[in-house]
Structures are given as C-alpha cells and as structure tokens.
C-alpha cells in the first residue's frame, strides 16, 4: 500500500515538474518570448551578494583584520617607456651619432627592472585563469581570500549549495538533454524536406539554442541588433568559452566552422549539417591552408548562405582582454561583422580554463553556478581598406571589439597559453639594444620597442597558424565534445 502511494506521489510530482517545465521554459523558448523570471532572479541575487559583502567587511573590521582586495588596479605601477629612452636616461646623455659602440655597466638596470616587473605582474599569464572577484558570490570556487565568513554567511552559502545542486542543476540537465535531443530529431526531420528550405531549419535551430540558453540560465542582453551579421559575411567575436557559440546562435543563424568529431559531437555535427550549411573539416584538411580558404570563400560568395562564425583568437581567454587575432579569416576579403561578448563574472565565471578542467567538468560547473550573465554588442560591419593588409585589418577589428567590450587590447598570441614564446621576440629585443650600442644604421620604426612582440614577425608562421585561426577553437583533449579545432602546440 505504502509503496503504491509513494509511486503515485512520485508519478504526480514528475508530471507536475514536467508541466511546469513545459509551460514556463520550453513553450516560451519555442515562441521566443520571455516571462522575465531570469532577470528577477538576477536582481535578487545581486541584493544577496551585496549583503554578503557588507557582512564580510563588518566581520573583518570586528576582528581588526585586513580585508583582502584583489589587485584590480595592478600590483605595481609601470611606466610605459621604450628601451632607447630608458638607456639614454641611464647614461644621462642623448648623443645619437657615435663612431664607437658605447656600453655602460648601468645598462643592465633596464633589463633587470623590466624582468622583475614582469615576474610581479605580466600582461599575459593572468589572462589564462579566471579573474578574481571584488566580492564573494557565495561560490566556494571563487573564494580566494575571503575568510571572514560568519555563521550566518555560512548558512546562506549552505542554502545556496542546496538550491544550486538540488534544484537548479537537475533542472538544467533536463533542459540540456531536451535541447540537444530536440536538435538531433528536428534537424534530421527538416533534412528530409527539399533543399533550400531555410525558414524551418532556422526556426528549428533557434528553438534548440533557446532551450540550451535556458539550460544554462544565461541572461543575455543584445545591443545594437541592427548591426546583426548578414549573409555573405563573417562574424568574428572574442572567445571566452565554448558557450559563446550558444550565446550568439540564440539570436541569429550562423554557419559553424570546425573539425569533424567522433562520438556525440559527431552525431550533432552530422545532424546540423542536414538542415543548414555548416563547414566541418576533416583533420587532414585543416593543415591545407588553401583548401580551407577556398571552402570559406565559396561559402561567403553564396549570398543565400548564413554568415560564418569564427573566433580568431584561437583559444579561450578569460574575458579581461582580447589577444592576437589570427589573420586567416581576414584574408578572405568579405565583410566582417565584429561582435563583442562580455560576461559578468559575479554570477558564475564562464571562462573555460582547459588546463584545469575538462569539458564535462566545465559544463557541470556552469550548470551549478548561479547564472551566466553577459552582454553582446553587435558592431558595425568592417571592410578591409585600401592599402591595409590582413594583419592591420585584424588589429583594427580587434581594437574595435576591445573598446566596445571594455577589454584590454593585447598584441600577444593566445597560443602562449600552451606554447613557448618564439625566440624571434627575444632576438628583436637584442637587436634594439644593439642599435643603441652602435648607433642607428638604418632608421627602422622603433616605436614598438617596449617589451611587446612585433606583429611583423608572425608572418613567418602563416601556414598552420592562420588555418587554425579559421576554425572555432577548442582545447585538444580527446574527451571534449564541443566544436573543435587544432591547438597551437600541435605543430
């Protein structure tokens, strides 16, 4: 009797659960409307976080301890000056015409100080780990030195764990499974319809991505939608996480670029291709730069096909900066639609640190955070100008994206996450110093002679680098399932 009763209860609760799910989440996803529940949730969370911060500050004052403040303004103040400038200052004279090479033992101070400055704070390594938060957001994973946690705060944290793992995570997993399942089923069905049937395939894609967005509780604000990418162009965006794809595809239809995969990912890829034109490369094809460029070129030439989505950085960066854009996508010669994506880390840091977590671990962390909040800005389309080469064009686009998203614009290559920096950059520094010693024989442009890589050197490495830049990047572990590409280290 009791077991029957329990079964009935279980049955009823599951039915109720699914009905609620359907009404509040899936139906709005299909129709493309929103009840505004997520925004309300976000506002509530913000209030709670502020309260938590106040309590921690109060706790710190009571115990007369120092409250840890992350170095949002930097640990040290660096002065931007060039090698030439500093060495002349060291010597106290400014003679540029010398017949004999002049060396001073004090010259070493410049290299010494720059070296130690970079040990204390450098521009590159801090981009490959999640950024530190100003205040605690009740997640253990972002607790760096917030140790003034009172009993009340711990209770709140415990409640948070219960809600996140007991309620939100199962909910989100259900949605994710539904979303992916629907994608597979519906795209296959649409595939049976005659070719050129774009309306239904677009709708199908949008529905599935909307469900996936709700599966992550992603609260996205789109700005300047009048600049949305159009057919026959390429959409470029800064890369923080594989979720970027879902965020963008939620609002428009893009053709993805990537490597063919096995397993679940391969199934998804094959299903997607049945209803809309995506560009999947065999592993062997990726190395062939011309082949890749041709396929992309053909795609954009066909004005009926959707815009291509590409992440030129080639790897995930932690959303505080934009790193070097590989020039491959900018050589194709079509209109580029830049998009800037900025995540709000307070609700859950979306950055995928692939050296720390695999993809499954990462997705679970995402689904057990509070929410993923981000802003997407569509920037006005850009074209390559007269006399501008691909590298300059890439830098121009990168600067625009960085400016819009409030990110630091860096010249460094994102591939430095794994690969060692090329010797050519050190040789450049040595060349600059030699010029100071023996005088300027040829008037080269010395304006970039702070310790930063010279873009021109990258031209030697065009072949495999630019091809990698064309594909949506992902980290080279065999178990991940997202749209992937080569990694820099696989040379």
């Amino acid at each position: 009797m009791i077991s029957l009763f329990l079964c009935m209860c279980l049955g009823i609760s599951i039915t109720v659960w699914f009905t609620l799910l359907l009404v509040f989440i899936i139906v709005p996803a299909i129709l493309g409307v929103s009840f505004g529940i997520r925004r309300l949730y976000m506002k509530t969370l913000l209030v709670i976080f502020e309260w938590a911060t106040l309590r921690m500050e109060r706790g710190a004052k009571e115990k007369n301890h120092h409250l840890y403040k992350p170095y949002s303004n930097g640990i040290i103040a660096k002065e931007p000056s060039s090698l030439e400038q500093e060495i002349h200052e060291l010597r106290g004279s400014a003679n540029s015409l010398r017949s004999e090479p002049e060396f001073e033992m004090a010259d070493i101070f410049y290299f010494c100080r720059r070296g130690v400055e970079s040990i204390v704070d450098d521009e590159v390594t801090k981009r490959f780990s999640a950024q530190e938060l100003e205040s605690w957001n009740l997640l253990t994973r972002s607790n760096y030195n917030f140790r003034h946690i009172s009993v009340r705060l711990s209770a709140l944290w415990g409640l948070g764990v219960l809600i996140r793992y007991g309620f939100l995570l199962p909910l989100r997993l259900t949605l994710a499974v539904t979303g992916v399942g629907l994608l597979l089923v519906l795209t296959t069905m649409v595939g049976f319809l005659p070719n050129g049937e774009t309306y239904l395939s677009e709708k199908v894609h949008l529905i599935c991505y909307r469900i996936c967005v709700r599966a992550l509780t992603a609260i996205i604000t789109y700005h300047n939608r009048e600049n949305k990418p159009k057919n026959g162009g390429i959409c470029v965006a800064n890369h923080t996480t594989p979720i970027d794809v879902i965020i963008l595809a939620n609002d428009g239809c893009y053709s993805m670029v990537g490597q063919v995969h096995g397993g679940l990912m391969g199934i998804i890829q094959r299903a997607m291709v049945k209803s809309s034109p995506h560009i999947w490369f065999e592993r062997s094809e990726v190395k062939d730069r011309h082949h890749v460029a041709k396929r992309l070129g053909d795609h954009v030439a066909d004005k009926t096909k959707q815009p291509i989505l590409i992440f030129p950085e080639g790897t995930c960066i932690n959303n505080t900066s934009v790193m070097m854009f590989k020039k491959g996508s900018f050589e194709i010669g079509c209109t580029v639609y830049p998009v800037a994506i900025k995540y709000d880390p307070r609700f859950g840091d979306a950055f995928w640190n692939s050296s720390k977590f695999g993809i499954v671990n990462y997705l679970l962390r995402m689904m057990s955070s509070w929410a993923i909040v981000c802003s997407v800005w569509y920037l006005p389309p850009m074209n390559r100008e007269e006399g501008e080469d691909a590298v300059q064009f890439a830098n121009r686009v990168k600067a625009a994206i960085a400016a819009q998203g409030g990110l630091v614009d860096l010249l460094w290559d994102g591939g430095l996450k794994r690969a060692k920096v090329k010797d050519a950059f050190k040789e450049e520094q040595q060349k600059l110093y030699s010029k100071v010693l023996v005088g300027d024989q040829d008037q080269d442009d010395l304006s970039e002679d702070t310790l930063v890589p010279d873009e021109r050197i990258n031209e030697d490495d065009i072949d495999t680098d630019s091809v990698k830049g064309l594909c949506i990047q992902c980290e080279p572990t065999p178990e991940h399932i997202v749209l992937t590409h080569e990694s820099v280290s696989e040379e």
Partner: protein, 195 residues
C-alpha cells in the same frame, strides 16, 4: 579551487616577512596571490620553468640571469620567503627608513644591496669578481648576434679598463660601486608597488 591564498599564509608569517622585507600587509597578500598563480605545480615553491612561462620574461635578453637571482646557490626551488626576499631589493628607498634602528642590519632595498643585485647578474660564477670572460658572456646575451666578436671584445676591454683600479683585469664589487656612483640607482632599480 577553494581559498588558496589565505589558508596557506598565516598572520605570523606575514608579520615576519613584513619585518624582513618592509612590504605592507596588503602588498604581501597580493604578492602571495601572484606567487601561487605562478606555482603551477601547487607545491608551495617555484621552479625555473615556472618563471620561464612568463612570456615577457622569456623575451628579456637577461631573463635567465634574472631568474637565477631568485634561486640560492645550488638550489632549484624557491619558496615564498625567498621570493619576497629577492623582490624586496626593488622596493623604493623611503627616507623615514634611514632613521630607524641604526643597529639593525642594512635593509634589503638599500643602494648598496641594489647594486649588489646588479653585480651578481654580471658575476656568473659567484666569485665576487667580474672577469673579462663573464662580461663578454653577459654582453653577448644582451646583443644577440648583431655585434661581431671583435667589437664586443673591444667593448669589454674598454669597460674593464675604465673600471679596474687594482690592475687585476677584473671588476670587484667596490670598483663596480665606484663606476656607478653617478647613476640614480635608487630610481632605476626600484619598482613602484601599489598599496
């Protein structure tokens, strides 16, 4: 994951480091955060590879010499205390420190200690003398392949000639100090640490 910085750095340790190096409490905590982020092996010490992972340091022509300065003789790992001790050399010299306890040992960031740090960058075999050979090697590191052996040799010869006073064809620490007496060492070998 979890609270890395606080659980491993106790208040007593912070106080000790404060006394030894002169850094403030918040500076020490921040530098500890930096130390742990460089420590990929998460074992509380840094190895040479951890330093070489910093691109801006890797392209510095004297990067290897600077990294070497952090490691005591014959050791391959540096802990946080050693890290801070070396960094302390680059603290700016503040006037009020000169009036502190006159019997206390010289602070790590005194002019002499800054010069000693630079001297050790040249002195490859740590024998307290910069020989012509050592000077040549360091020069070669700084200029790469852009200057010929003869030119570099004559630069080294001229430098030693100007600095050497006791005729032993090498530069001792005192001779080094003399050569650099007009240089604003305090400013050039100091880093502005923010509070």
């Amino acid at each position: 994951m979890g609270s890395r910085a606080s659980t491993l750095l106790r208040e007593e340790e912070i106080e000790e480091i404060k006394k030894e190096t002169g850094f403030s409490h918040s500076q020490i905590t921040r530098l500890y955060s930096r130390f742990t982020s460089l420590d990929k092996g998460e074992n509380g010490t840094l190895s040479r590879e951890d330093f070489q992972r910093i691109p801006e340091l890797a392209i510095n022509p004297l990067g290897d010499r600077i990294i070497n300065a952090f490691f005591p003789e014959g050791e391959d790992q540096v802990n946080f205390r050693g890290f801070m001790r070396t960094l302390a050399h680059f603290r700016p010299i503040e006037d009020n420190e000169k009036n502190k306890d006159p019997t206390a040992s010289e602070p790590l960031n005194s002019r002499t200690n800054k010069l000693l740090f630079a001297f050790r960058l040249y002195d490859l075999d740590r024998d307290d003398k910069i020989s012509r050979d050592e000077l040549l090697q360091v020069l070669r590191m700084m200029v790469g392949v852009n200057i010929s052996d003869e030119q570099l040799g004559s630069i080294a010869d001229r430098t030693i000639q100007e600095a050497d006073q006791n005729g032993d064809n090498s530069i001792s620490f005192n001779e080094f100090i003399k050569v650099l007496e007009k240089v604003d060492v305090e400013q050039k070998m100091s880093i502005r640490f923010l509070h």
